[in-house]
Amino acid sequence: MTDKDPVVELRDVHKSFGALKVLDGVSLTVARGEVAVIIGRSGSGKSTALRCIDRLEVIDDGEIVVCGHRLTDAKLNLRALRQDVGIVFQSYNLFPHLTVAQNITLAPVSVKRVSRAEALETAQAVLRQVGLQDKADAYPEQLSGGQQQRAAIARSLAMKPKVMLFDEVTSALDPELTAEVLRVMEDLAASGMTMVVVTHEMSFARRIADQLVFMHGGRVRETGPGDILLDPQTPELRQFMSHELHAATR
């Protein structure tokens, strides 16, 4: 893979759950260092598209290439893919029986075989990055939702991924905690991390997106810089934005 190659590429991806068509020909290209933000109402297929990138869902048709891994390849090395891709979920999914530091060092030590000392050093660094340097020895249940989510981000970062996926990571948080998580994500984007973000936070999306993707009914309806939100070209995005505006001022 050269520097010019896209980090994430979806070509005409189709995916159904039973009779329900969730992705209906989705194409998307994310270049190195780029932040792509996917928006759209619930059920538009945006989370599914994201999960397909980490092959948590297997697609029916089309092609996905992530960091040089061809996901439809029969010989795909799933664990190699997962080392290149970090993903953060809405529900944090920290391991409750491990401290924050143990959560973070688990994969580097058991997958990448780095020494415990080196893994701990990395853990300290990523915890500083998300502003949790004093929480290394806390258990997840002792943290607020926002802290848990930042710890989850740190856990992914410790694997030194080439691309980070964020699946509605603030949807379970109140506005104050949301802000602290978004701040971490903005820092991460500024540091040059390649990111694909699914979110409902519209002003955040506009601010952080190099490429904004509006999905509707399993298709990409509009794509462009963050400012496409100010001047929707399709009736679907216009309607979506007016709903969002309505929700924001309510």
């Binding site: 980490d54 948590l56 664990r79 190699a80 997962r82 080392q83 891709v85 970090g86 993903i87 979920f89 809405q90 529900s91 944090y92 999914n93 920290l94 391991f95 409750p96 029986h97 688990l106 994969a107 058991s110 997958v111 258990y139 997840p140 249940e141 607020s144 939702g145 848990q148 856990r155 992914s156 694997m159 379970a172 948080l173 109140d174 905690l177």
Partner: protein, 229 residues
């Protein structure tokens, strides 16, 4: 001290029987635990064959009385040339029985660990074995302790079945004493009390463990904040 015509000799005999009940229970729990762990792991294995085979084993064992298994081992095996002592026959029958039940209890505990925990571990590139050993099992064990201790009470009571193949454990020693004293009410009341003395602490402990079971189990990550307005 005498209860009815029970004297110190009887008491010593009963105590010896109680000791064998404890030994038989330990064999059943330890052996059944080891085998049951294998059953539980096979029940959640990725291999369809292992899942199917272990499922069939559980169905077969749960569908046959342990008493019949003891008869089969103690009276059946000598018929085809294997002489089996009563302790081995009873122990083996109980081990098999316990393994099937514990296997199912523990399968449930493994499956009670929320699905996203598997997914998160998978996304960190952990292998299936690593996911199981480092992420899922430690959580499943905490869920499993109270029902496992509770089940061991059943095991202690089930060891009384060994009396029918002539193994002199607590129930059988009671029978023997009664055969000489003919005071069934007194003798069996005493036997029941001894069983109770063995089982009650375990039931209590199980209850305590249940109450103490890790708070994070009942409050999975995310739910607390999701519930907030």
């Amino acid at each position: 001290m005498e209860i009815g015509q029970l004297n110190a000799n009887h008491a010593a005999f009963l105590l010896q029987g109680a000791m064998w009940t404890v030994v038989l229970s330990a064999i059943a729990c330890l052996g059944g635990g080891v085998l049951g762990m294998g059953v539980a792991l096979c029940r959640v294995a990725s291999s369809r064959f292992l899942r199917g085979a272990s499922g069939a084993y559980v169905q077969l064992v749960q569908g046959t009385p342990p008493l019949v298994a003891m008869f089969l081992l103690y009276f059946g095996l000598p018929g085809i040339g294997f002489d089996v002592p009563a302790l081995i026959a009873a122990g083996l029958a109980l081990v098999v029985n316990v393994s099937a039940f514990l296997g199912e209890i523990w399968r449930g505990c493994i499956e009670a660990v929320p699905r996203p925990q598997w997914e998160a571990a998978e996304c960190l590139a952990l292998s299936r074995i690593q996911r199981l050993v480092k992420v899922i099992l430690p959580q499943a064990v905490r869920i499993a302790v109270p029902p496992t201790v509770g089940f061991s009470v059943q095991v202690i009571k089930n060891t009384s079945l060994a009396s029918v193949v002539g193994f002199v454990e607590l129930a059988r020693s009671g029978q023997i004493i009664n055969n000489s004293l003919f005071q069934p009410f007194v003798v069996y009341a005493v036997i029941a009390l001894v069983y109770f003395a063995l089982c009650y602490p375990l039931s209590r402990w199980s209850r305590v463990l249940e109450r103490r079971a890790g708070s994070w189990r009942r409050r999975p990550a995310g739910l607390a904040t999701l519930a907030a307005p």
